[in-house]
Amino acid sequence: MRDVAIIGIGIQKWGELWDRSLRDLWVEAALNAIKDSGVDHIDSMYVGCMAPGLFVGQEHLGSLLADYLGVTPIPATRVESACASGGMAVRSAFLEVASGVSDIVLASGVEKMTDVDGGGATYALATAADAEYEVFQGVTFPGLYAMVARDYMHRYGLTREQLAQVAVKNHDNGSLNPHAQYPMKITAETVMNSTMIADPLRLFDCSPITDGAAAAIVCPLDLAKKLSKQQPIKIAGIGAGTDRIALHDRKDLCEFRATVKAGEAAFKMAGVGPEDIDFCEVHDCFTIAELCVIEALGFFERGTAGKATAAGETARDGKMPINTSGGLKSKGHPVGATGLGQIHEIVTQLRGAAGDRQVKGVKRGMMQNMGGSGGSTVCHILEVV
């Protein structure tokens, strides 16, 4: 298996982008990645996208997007794993390059979510849960994570204010990210006074509805210097896992076993442990998710992440910076693009190009991208070489 590197990244400012279509958004991000890398062709491409059929009435994104990028007849495929689609597209690109099948592969993600109204978006997103035995009963995604939060609070004494600090910290980071959808600082009071969505989660515990795309160029590490002037960032470890799709079927509602599995596989492949990771981008689709996930990855003991967050341990200057980009909460959550957005942040930080939100001296970063209420997860560990 060949070593694999990322030599180009592309994104745009995420938000409610009424004037641009799915294909516009995706082509813009893909062109930015190609330009960033300087490559003169691509051999193959993967598109992470959760539900284009429901959001914009379009399937067959491989053909559509290869066509609109002007790269037909290269192979192109959509990859779907709900909100982890983007991370899975990176995994597919990694495997194709590592195996020697292709040299230059475009890994990408996109979601166009504002062509439907709130009800339509809720319906599309709910398809990541068990349609027959969860959604039928009237539960929503905030509702599922609210039940995780309630269980966590009951077992570990997590306070409402500690939970709010996840959103406060992520908005603080996002305020320094030019690509963030909501780049404004907030206070714990903002979170705790916002509209109740699914008790105990309020509006500011939830990531937003977002239009956006992001992309990366992946190639063999030993060709990276020849193909691009960019500093190559090695994909040192990859991991993925699944869990029972219905939240109620998990023995421990606060243990995200797909993330445990994905993290362990990525650590093993990279030959490192959680203590060797300098910073991490995680899937904070809801504030409670960030706490459960940073425990599942081994950065914090079970039941301690809320206290650690309130003590500033996950801030940019803390001992384990989490979501320096602003996370899904502030940067936005165009579901299929989110994993690539995380890759964009890690590469930017490892290049030392993150400006005011740069964490000093980072050499190794990790991302964790999760589908549904934790039914699937993908992790990648990236390193400066």
């Binding site: 009963q137 009237g138 929503t140 939240l247 079927d249």
Partner: protein
């Protein structure tokens, strides 16, 4: 959105709470809904059963912003329940003041109307839980 064929197919679970149990390796699981296998290599002996209709609340939420088809009902409570035989399910918790909801509270299954398929569509029935 639900459709008549799938709703009809799910009647054994929604109306009669049918699950099944695997007795392999002395471990007893109650599956709800019933499954074909535990895993591809299990020497499964899956016996059909009706799940226990009493159990307790493991966790709950109150939905304030509902899906469109439940818009007239919010706020309403949803709970994850563990029944007395170990079966797990997600259901609305009805007939309980929202400030009286509690983790661990005993509940039982009741047959109720769940939703309707649009203005003129079929009424869909199934299970909710209520305080026991």
């Amino acid at each position: 959105m639900a459709f008549v064929p799938s709703y009809w197919r799910e009647i054994p679970q929604r109306y009669r709470y049918e699950g099944n149990k695997c007795t392999h390796h002395d471990q007893q699981y109650t599956f709800f809904p019933p499954r074909r296998v535990c895993d591809p290599w299990c020497d499964c002996k899956l016996d059909p059963c009706t799940i226990a209709t009493t159990g307790k609340v493991l966790t709950y939420t109150v939905i304030h912003i509902p899906p469109t088809q439940f818009s007239d009902e919010a706020p309403y409570a949803i709970a994850i329940c563990e029944m007395d035989d170990g079966a797990r399910l997600t259901a609305q918790l009805a007939d309980c003041p929202l400030d009286a909801l509690k983790i661990g509270m005993p509940v039982r299954i009741e047959f109720r109307k769940i939703q309707r398929d649009g203005e003129a569509g079929v009424l869909m029935y199934g299970y909710k839980v209520v305080p026991a």
